[in-house]
Each structure stands twice: as C-alpha cells, then as structure tokens.
C-alpha cells in the first residue's frame, strides 16, 4: 500500500516530561497509521500516556516538556519539521482539531457560544464574522444544537449541549482529523449515546477521521474502526475493531476486556492486580510482565512488535 495515501502516519513518536525525579516517559516510541474517514480508538488506563499522545500530535506541549522527537506525517508531509508558526497556521485546528477532556467545562463562561465557535473559523479560514456565523449555524445543525442557542452563554446549556458545542468548535474549520479526549466520560448514558450518534453521523456525512482517546472500552466500540491499546507509554496492540472486540491478542488487552462489566452477558468480570509501572524508570523488559499471568523467561527482554495476520502486538508470545 502506498504509504503516502495514509491520512496520518506516526513514527517513533517520543514525548518526555522533565521532573525533579527525572524524565517521565509519557509517550515512548509510538507508531501508528490512520486512513482517511476512519476512527482509531486509543485505549488505556489513566497515566498510560494517552492524553500526552494527543498533545504530542497537536504539539500542545506544557512548559516541562523534555525530549520530543519522531515523525508525524499528515497526508505524506512531515509536520514535525514545521516551524511553530507554520504549525499554528496550517495544522492546529486547520487540519487537526481537538475536543479536550471535559470540554464542556472548558468553554469561556462570559462569551456567547456562537462567538466561541466562530473564532477558530475567523482565525484559520480568514472569513468575516457573518460568514463564520453561517458556518457555525451549519455545524450546530450537524451536531444537533438548536439554531437559537447561538447567542446563549454556556451556563444556559446542559452538559450534553455544551459537549456538542465543543464538538462544533472542533468541526467548524472542516479539519481532516479530530482528536477526542474522553468525549463522554462526564455525561449520562442517554447523552453519551446521543453524542456518539452525532459523531457517527459526522463521520458518515463529512468524511472526518477521528482519534478517540478513552479508558471506557464499552463505549469506545461505538465509534471504533481500529483499536490501539496503550500501556506505560507504548502501544502494545494494534488491530481492527472487529477482531479486537472479538478476541484481543495481548495479555493486557485480554485482561482489560475481561474487566468490562457486561449488560448482555453473564460473565463475571475479572480485575488486573498490581499497578502500571512508573514512567520515570520503566522496566527494561516487557512493561506489562510484572502483572502478566503468562510471563516467561523471555519477558525480561523488551519485546519488539510482532505481526499476527495484519494485527500488531508487542508480546513475546507471538514471536
């Protein structure tokens, strides 16, 4: 397959944070690819580096960022080599936008939601206010916010409506890719189902691609075409959703899947004992070995990525 046809290709992406105890290896050599009009879910527990991965892709680095390297190709073009200004003008929000964690509480309380959603359009598309507002209206329609909400303030909207406004804000510049960081974790089930309906419709109607970052395995299946499981700063399994949700490969993915309480099946959920390793001094071998029921001698060495009929897994079992 022509590598340049991929919408997004990430190679050996590294993002460390400097702390007084040493660098935190939040993203440590991440590789993955995403085709146009597809959605990949990054699954992982808190502290596995999944939100840092989102920040690394959008180059939203905090002040204590240390090592930051690797390649991010957007439609074949390496965006890591762009200058800060080029990145801001052409990539951030123009090509890749984001719905941050708890986005519904991230809206400015003293600015009308219509103005907030119009702002990225005016800055990145260079359109005037009237045109931006017509775009806002179009986006509100896509996400299911009533048109007259455009002049309301965030506090006049329910949580679900504010979340839709945040999604509209990410959509307004018609980016190719939207990164969603836990888009529904603070919402009720019915609102959650609603938001996923909205995302599915956007994907179908506008052809947008998504990176969905979440720890909620059950709801992640609502959008996923592909799944990447992240553990201790690394992606340990990468597979298509059909096979992943049916039978994951990596022992961690399997245990994670077994820990999901199910409404429609009578299977007793299991938990994973122990805790993820420190990202300041991760183990030299397999990072999951300490909690893994299947570990054997080989696991003291760091496993490379093995390919199992098209799926990728970082585990010696598949050597």
């Amino acid at each position: 397959m022509d590598q340049n046809k991929k919408l997004l290709r990430i190679e050996n992406l590294v993002l460390y944070f400097n702390t007084t105890q040493g660098p935190v290896q939040a993203v440590d050599g991440v590789n993955f690819e995403l085709d146009a009009n597809r959605a990949v879910v990054i699954l992982g527990e808190s502290g596995c580096g999944k939100s840092s991965l989102a920040k690394a892709i959008l180059r939203l680095l905090p002040r204590n960022a240390g090592a930051y390297s690797g390649h991010i190709y957007l439609e074949g073009k390496d965006i890591m080599s762009l200058s800060e200004e080029e990145f801001r003008q052409n990539i951030r929000w123009a090509a890749i936008s984001m719905v941050p964690q708890a986005a519904m509480n991230a809206l400015n309380p003293v600015i009308r939601v219509g103005d907030q959603v119009a702002e990225p359009a005016m800055i990145h598309l260079g359109v005037d206010k009237a045109e931006a507002f017509s775009l806002v209206q179009k986006m509100f329609q896509h996400v299911g916010v009533p048109a007259d909400f455009i002049s309301r303030y965030p506090f006049e909207l329910s949580g679900g409506m504010r979340q839709r406004v945040a999604i509209a804000m990410a959509l307004v510049t018609s980016p190719k890719l939207i990164i969603l960081d836990e888009p529904t974790s603070a919402l009720d089930v019915l609102t959650q189902a609603n938001i996923f309906n909205v995302l599915k419709r956007i994907k179908k109607e506008l052809g947008t691609s998504f990176i969905l970052i979440t720890h909620d395995i059950a709801t992640s299946s609502e959008l996923a075409d592909d799944v990447a499981v992240m553990y201790a700063g690394q992606i340990v399994e990468r597979a298509d959703a059909d096979r992943f949700f049916h039978e994951p490969l990596h022992p961690y993915s399997r245990m994670l899947m077994a820990s999901v309480p199910r409404l429609r099946a009578d299977q007793e959920p299991e938990f994973i004992s122990g805790q993820p390793p420190s990202l300041i001094s991760p183990p030299t071998g397999c990072r999951f070995a300490e909690r893994c029921p299947l570990r054997f001698a080989k696991c003291d060495e760091a496993p490379p990525v093995f390919e199992v009929d098209g799926r990728k897994v970082r585990c010696w079992k598949y050597a």
């Binding site: 189902a193 609603n194 309906n197 709801t219 609502e222 996923a224 999901v260 099946a265 938990f271």
Partner: protein, 340 residues
C-alpha cells in the same frame, strides 16, 4: 426465566426484616428571588417510597439531576424532608435528637464518589480512620489502633504499616477508594450508602472495588444502597434495582426481572443506550428518546416522561399521573401501559 435459586432469593428478601423504610418522601428546595420571597420549589425527590431489608443491596439508577443524590443525602440525614419519613429500624431519623443522630451516623456508612475529594489532604490514613472512632467515643487508644488495623486488612490494604502514615495524595485512586470504604466500615455500620463508588476509577480497578464491596456486604450482612448511572455494573452487585426519573422511582424490580423484561419506556431507553464492547456498535445508530429530562421546578403533568415517550397514550399519560402497577411478581412500574 428466573432460576429456582433466584426465586428463593427474591422471596427470602421479602421475608427479611426491614432496616430502612422510606415513606412517601418529598424533598423540595425553595427557589428564592434576591434571597427572599419564595418563587417556586425544585422538587428533587417527589413521592418516593421503598423498604430496604437487612443485608439487601439495592441499586438506584438515574441520570444526573433526577434527584438520586438528594434522596441519598436525605437518607444520610443531611437534608430535611419536606414531607414523608425516613425510618431506620423503625425510628424516624429526622426526629432523633443530637445523641440519636450520633447513633444513626454510626449505623450508616457513606462511600463518596470522588475518593480524593472525600479524604482530607492534611491527614494521614491513620488519622482519617481514627476520627470516626474518636467522635463515636472510643476512648481506649489500643482499641482504636486495633480497629484501624482490622478495617485496613478488611479492605485489603496490607501490610497495614505501609499505609498508616501515608497521606491521600501518596495513594493510587483504587487505594484512596479503599481508605474511603474503610472509613465507612470502621464503626461497623448496618447500612452503606455508596454514591457512584467506582465511576472515577479505571476499568481494571473498578471491578476490584466492586468485588471488595460485595464481599464486605456478604461477610457483614450489610444493607447497601448503591447509587449509579452505570447499568452494566448493577447486576454484579445488587438484588433489586430502582430506576429514578425526575424525582420519582418509575420502576422497582429484582435485577434479573428488570434485565429480562424491562417495563417502563425510560428503562428501555437506558438499557438500549448502555453499550457492551462490540464492533457492531460502530455500524448502527442508537435510539435515544428526544429532548432532555424535565425541569424539576415545573415537572410535566401526568407521567413525567410523557413528552419524550414514544408509546404515550393520548388523553391519559399527559393528564393523570400513573400509579404503580405490578405486572410481574415484585416488579413494579409507574406506567399506564401496564394498567390491568
């Protein structure tokens, strides 16, 4: 179908002694304009009745704003009911005096949703757990230390010495929640009220904490009121489930019965919206009732769900409030569809 074992479980729960009885409870909050002059009421809890038996676990499921937290806080004695009663072992808890309330608080443990927010950051684990004992008047230092040790072992934080001196920020989310549970357990309560005890935790830890709560419940024959919005966890935990909508319990059922034949259209919607991990999910849209839960200041006439309901009966649902019907044994619902 119910298995024989479940039937006997259900019937035994009916025969068990009532521990907590909530009778026609209403909790209304006054809405004032400029600090004076009442302009209306927020009817957070509006006519709720149920009995909780000794050793029974009940889950209350509902969306945010349905009044489940107000119900819980009233049971804990933090709000005064506008109308109705909360009876614990036959005593009206809002008529207890100062000493009576102290006794009641030792009988009821509370597990908060956000463990980090629930633990004082300036106290170590030992002090956090000693506090309830001091308030309950356990004078003997030896005894206090013994009980702290025992309760930490019960919530599986061992070796105990490693944890006694730790402050909340030094613990992981799961460990913090264990400390919260230990604090709720330390006075040997008969009832535990748990408000979304696992919603802030990671998937892998969530199950661990639920299993811990269940083992404590079984070992000490504790009654449990488990408040949640996550339907997928309730069946591992409770015997009965109550569905709450706009201040009222619209369906009360043994858990199996509810999962096998949900009755109220709102319950149907909640079940349909809950996902299991399945790649098929991405290929279909979910059916979600239109609109949002009603304002509790001026709830709709008749059935409170009727404006969003796709099975509404014209001329009935929007006029008259549905009473409770019992289409299946011990499975009650307030919906006109089940009128005999």
């Amino acid at each position: 179908m119910l298995t024989q074992e479940q039937v006997s479980l259900n019937s035994s729960s009916i025969e068990r002694e009532v521990l907590l009885s909530v009778r026609n409870l209403r909790v209304w909050f006054e809405l004032r304009r400029f600090g004076f002059g009442i302009v209306g009421h927020v009817r957070a809890v509006d006519g709720v009745s149920f009995d909780l038996h000794r050793g029974e676990a009940i889950a209350v499921v509902g969306e945010s704003g349905c009044g489940k937290s107000s119900l819980m806080r009233t049971i804990l004695g933090l709000h005064r009911p506008t109308e109705g009663q909360v009876l614990f072992e036959g005593k009206d808890i809002h008529a207890l005096g100062r000493d009576g309330m102290r006794w009641y608080r030792s009988q009821v443990g509370y597990v908060q949703q956000d463990p980090y927010g629930a633990l004082p950051p300036f106290m170590n684990v030992e002090r956090i757990l000693e506090e309830p004992l001091l308030i309950a008047g356990v004078r003997d230092r030896r005894e206090r230390q013994d009980r702290i040790r025992r309760v930490l072992e019960e919530v599986k934080l061992f070796p105990v010495e490693d944890y006694l001196g730790k402050f909340p920020h030094m613990l992981s989310g799961g460990q913090q929640q264990r400390v919260v549970i230990a604090r709720a357990m330390i006075l040997n309560p008969k009832l535990i009220v748990a408000d979304e005890p696992v919603s802030m935790l990671d998937a892998s830890v969530r199950v661990e904490i639920l299993k811990l709560l269940r083992s404590l419940q079984e070992r000490h024959n504790l009654a449990f009121l488990y408040i949640t919005h996550d339907l997928s966890t309730v069946k591992y935990f409770s015997e009965r489930i109550f569905v709450m909508y706009a201040g009222r319990l619209i369906e009360k059922a043994p858990i199996r019965s509810l999962l096998e034949h949900p009755l109220h259209p709102y319950t149907h919607a909640l079940l349909a919206a809950t996902s299991d991990p399945d790649a098929e999910n991405a290929r279909r849209f979910k059916e979600v009732p239109p609109g949002e839960p009603p304002s509790l200041v001026k709830p709709p006439n008749g059935c409170r769900f009727h404006p969003r309901c796709n099975r509404m009966i014209q001329g009935l649902c929007e006029v008259q409030e549905p009473p409770e019907f019992e289409p299946y044994p011990a499975h009650l619902t307030s919906c006109w569809l089940y009128k005999e």
